[in-house]
């Protein structure tokens, strides 16, 4: 009985408590993106969190959106350098826009900037995070330069928040 009270019950309680924290962490991660339970060794669409995610901000008072469709780590290596995210934005017109593009962390952004660009047309996407990360966590604002017919549009969406 003493052995049961001294070791089993506390151990059982500790297991219960630890399990509960894991669930809370999962609940938090579901808002911000959860850590991968498995990773792929190939470029695959294994979801790191529940996708797609929609983020909304404002552009000169008008709503603007970004959609995260896929995210992964190249070669399964979980670090900033190998992180990739496929996203699209609401900046388009009559089917013209950037469509889905794959962003990666900028070497110069200190873990707070993801980007994509197409040098031939001078189009790009720049996505700023609120804090350094190794994945697209908590975006703050994004900027899109996109070609509509024959001229470039340059739009910035700020105060970005996750749409629940």
């Amino acid at each position: 009985m003493k052995l049961y009270l001294k070791y089993v019950i506390p151990l059982f309680t500790a297991i219960v408590i630890i399990s509960g924290c894991g669930k809370e962490n999962q609940a938090l991660d579901s808002q911000q993106g959860s850590r991968p339970e498995t990773s792929s060794t190939e470029d695959s669409s294994v979801q790191l969190r529940q996708l797609p995610l929609v983020f909304e901000g404002t552009d000169k008072g008008r709503p603007c959106r970004m959609m995260l469709h896929r995210e992964w780590y190249e070669g399964g290596v979980v670090d900033r350098k190998n992180y990739r995210a496929e996203l699209s934005t609401s900046y388009e017109h009559d089917g013209e826009g950037l469509g889905k593009q794959i962003v990666a962390f900028s070497a110069l952004g200190d873990g707070k900037l993801l980007e994509w660009d197409r040098a031939a047309t001078r189009e790009f996407i720049k996505l700023a995070l609120k804090a350094p990360s190794d994945k697209m966590l908590d975006p703050a604002s994004f900027r899109v330069k996109w070609l509509h017919d024959d001229h470039l549009h340059d739009n910035t969406c700020i105060n970005v928040k996750l749409v629940p």
Binding site: L113, K126, A140, F142, D150, H153
Partner: protein
């Protein structure tokens, strides 16, 4: 100055020829004397016989202004405003009573062959060769066959030869200004056959007053020919046929003659020193060049048959073909082909001594087809083609109530249909447009005229309606025809020496068509009807004194009051207050005239000029996240207060003989221009609420764009 030398040489030669010819005249053969009422017409600018208040711009007045085109001929005339809506391409709007250019109907000899399509550049295509006068008739209901004349009518009256003549007119001046025109007329069969041929070639050079490499006024040439034949088939029948050809060529923006032959593939902001449009232009000339070409043919046939003792049947049929080819620096090509036909049958008969009844029917058909490799082929926008049909019946009773009162009561019953086939839109309406005109001759000197009319306009919206700014296309959201009620009163006093008068015209517009730009970059503009009624009131006072010693003094003051909401719908700032002073002196063989025009100050922000900027600068896309880099955003708003300014035009003419005139003129003597004032028409124009969405525009226009021009002229009657 090569044009000036040419004038001088030609004048010496012609003078020598004329002198030698004069020496051969047979002194026993007296010249034929033809009595006309031209002098009495010259005496008064108001047509005293007309029930409608009609002001006439005489041929002499047109020549005094050195006008090469219709737009120049009517500039600053009473009730009329000629605006340059685009400094790059030279598109002009001629307005009456403060209304839009689309509300002015241009007729030639009473035939309405111009429309919104032709009026953008067409007012510069109409040459002044062969023109005897231009009548300005204000208000809706100004012409029975022009119900779309919500603002009024400009009726160009071509010359009707009464005797054979031949004239030449040669002008040359600074800023590459030149004019060569001539007219010849012949009569035969004891005057039963009359033939007129007239032609003109005119040129004006570009202006770049601030020398920044972008012109504020385009290089412009126009050419035109008119051929008119009238014949009395019998004692009661006459036939008139008129053919006209017109051509204009405009090259704007560029200062080195660069003439693009195709559109820009990609459009980005042209470079200026410091991104400032008032500083030196650093980029390719092809990125700022507009090229416009317009060719036009008109054919009119009119048959008149006297019926009985005093009735008349008149049949008119006409057509106008116009082709416009243009390349705009906003990055697209645009071509349209427009055909407009007008036919009318009119029967006029006196019912009794007091009433003259006019019954008629007319019809118009207009087809406009366009093409654009960039807009339709690449951008896949729907073409702006439209088809307009109009059929009408009308009736008018002119009632001479007594010696003092004359009343004209009329009404039109119209069916209209406008179709935009590629926009899947149709607007069809039946309309009744009554008009009442009352002339009251108080005594031999005083005459009052009161007018009411209801007018309408089918809004023929197309790319030029937004003047080339609709590079993202447009949609038609129009559901109604524009309509207007117009009420006017004018009083006129005429004696041997004095002529003065005044008037006020009010117009209430309904369903005004306008283009609403999308708030989202890349979305199309939408043409729609304005939901509220809009009011415009114009008023004037004018006076002329003709002294015995050859002095003539003419003065006028005008006021145009526009609803604020209406100002925001206009493409350009319009004249709101204007004063004119004209002093003329004739003595011996000399004639001089000095015209001073004063334009009042204006708040340009009311015309959305507060979205015009001098520069753009780089600002952080998001100040909280500098990693996103910098974006371009307009800064330094352009001037939004147009000052009061005055222009002076001076002409001196010398007649060594009746048939020769040498002249010297200075237009804009003080060389006042808005560019010289420090406010060129060039601007970064913000589109919508986003200061990061802007284009280079040349539409910040509020004042003269051409500086001082010296012109020498030689006119001969051969």
């Amino acid at each position: 100055m090569s044009n000036v030398r040419l004038i001088l040489m030609a004048s010496v030669l012609l003078f020598a020829v004329k002198t030698s010819v004069a020496a051969d005249d047979n002194p026993e053969q007296l010249p034929e004397v033809i009595v006309t009422d031209e002098k009495s017409l010259e005496q008064s600018r108001i047509d005293r016989g007309a029930v409608l208040p009609t002001e006439r711009i005489s041929k002499k007045r047109i020549e005094q202004k050195r006008a090469q085109t219709l737009a120049e001929a009517v500039a600053h005339e009473s009730g009329v405003d000629t605006q340059t809506s685009c400094a790059n391409c030279g598109a002009k709007r001629v307005t009456i009573n403060g209304l839009r250019g689309e509300h002015t109907t241009i007729m030639v000899d009473g035939v309405p062959l111009h429309s919104a399509v032709s009026s953008f550049y067409g007012v510069d295509a109409v040459p002044m060769a062969g023109v005897e006068a231009i009548d300005v008739i204000r208000g809706a209901g100004a012409a029975l066959t022009a119900p779309e004349a919500i603002g009024g009518v400009l009726n160009i009256i071509t010359e009707t030869p009464k005797r054979p003549f031949a004239t030449t007119n040669l002008q040359g001046g600074t800023a590459n200004t030149s004019l060569l025109s001539g007219a010849a007329a012949e009569t035969a069969l004891d005057g039963k056959f009359r033939f007129l041929a007239a032609g003109q070639f005119a040129r004006q050079g570009l202006w770049d007053i601030d020398k920044n490499g972008v012109s504020e006024f385009p290089e412009f040439t126009n050419a035109g020919v008119i051929v008119k034949a009238q014949t009395d088939l019998t004692a009661s029948q006459s036939l008139e046929v008129r053919y006209a050809w017109q051509s204009i060529s405009i090259l704007g923006g560029t200062t080195d003659g660069t003439r693009p032959t195709t559109f820009l593939t990609n459009v980005d902001s042209p470079s200026f020193d410091g991104n400032d449009v008032s500083r030196r232009y650093l980029d390719s000339q092809s990125k700022i060049a507009d090229v416009i070409g317009l060719k036009r043919h008109e054919l009119v046939g009119r048959f008149k048959q006297r019926v009985g003792a005093a009735s008349q049947l008149q049949l008119t049929t006409s057509g106008a073909w116009q082709a416009q080819d243009s390349i705009y620096f906003h990055g697209y090509d645009y071509t349209n082909r427009d055909f407009l036909s007008f036919s009318e049958i009119r029967y006029t008969t006196p019912l009794n001594v007091d009433h003259v009844l006019t019954l008629g029917a007319d019809g118009r058909l207009q087809n406009m087809n366009s093409s654009s490799e960039k807009l339709y082929g690449i951008k896949n926008l729907p073409p702006d083609d439209f088809k307009f049909q109009n059929g009408a019946l009308y009736a008018q009773d002119t009632w001479s109530v007594n010696e003092s009162h004359e009343l004209s009561l009329a009404s039109r019953f119209d069916y209209l249909s406008v179709k935009w086939p590629f926009q899947n839109r149709i607007v069809e309406r039946f309309l009744v447009s009554p008009r009442v005109h009352w002339k009251w001759m108080h005594d031999a000197q005083w005459t009052s005229r009161l007018s009411y009319g209801r007018g309408y306009r089918a809004p023929l919206s197309f790319f030029e309606s937004q003047h080339g700014l609709s590079e993202d296309g447009f949609t038609i959201g129009l559901t109604e025809i524009e309509t207007a009620h117009s009420l006017g009163y004018a009083a006129h006093h005429l004696t041997n020496r004095w002529e003065f008068g005044g008037g006020v015209y009010g117009t209430l517009l309904q369903n005004t068509a306008y283009a609403e730009e999308s708030q989202n970059a890349g979305d199309s503009a939408q043409f729609k009807n304005y939901s509220d009624s809009l009011g415009v009131v114009s008023s004037y006072l004018s006076g002329i004194y003709r002294a015995e010693n050859g002095w003539t003094l003419e003065t006028s003051i005008e006021d145009f009051r526009l609803a604020k909401a209406y100002k925001r719908l206009l493409p350009n700032a319009v004249t709101e207050q204007r004063a004119r002073l004209r002093i003329e002196k004739t003595w011996g063989g000399f004639e001089t005239s000095l015209i001073c025009t004063v334009i009042g100050s204006r708040d340009l922000a009311l015309y959305r000029y507060d979205q015009h900027y001098l520069t753009y600068e780089e600002v952080p896309a998001d100040p909280n996240n500098p990693a996103l880099g910098n974006v371009e955003e307009v800064s330094a708003r352009k001037n939004t207060k147009a000052p009061l300014y005055a222009t002076l035009d001076f002409t001196v003419a010398y007649h060594p003989a009746h048939s020769i005139e040498f002249s010297a003129s200075v237009l804009n003597l003080t060389s006042f221009t808005q560019t010289g004032y420090g406010d060129s028409p060039l601007a970064w124009g913000q589109h919508g609420p986003d200061p990061r969405h802007f284009h280079l525009d040349n539409m910040h226009v509020w004042g003269p764009l051409r500086g001082r021009v010296f012109i020498l002229g030689l006119k001969t009657d051969l």
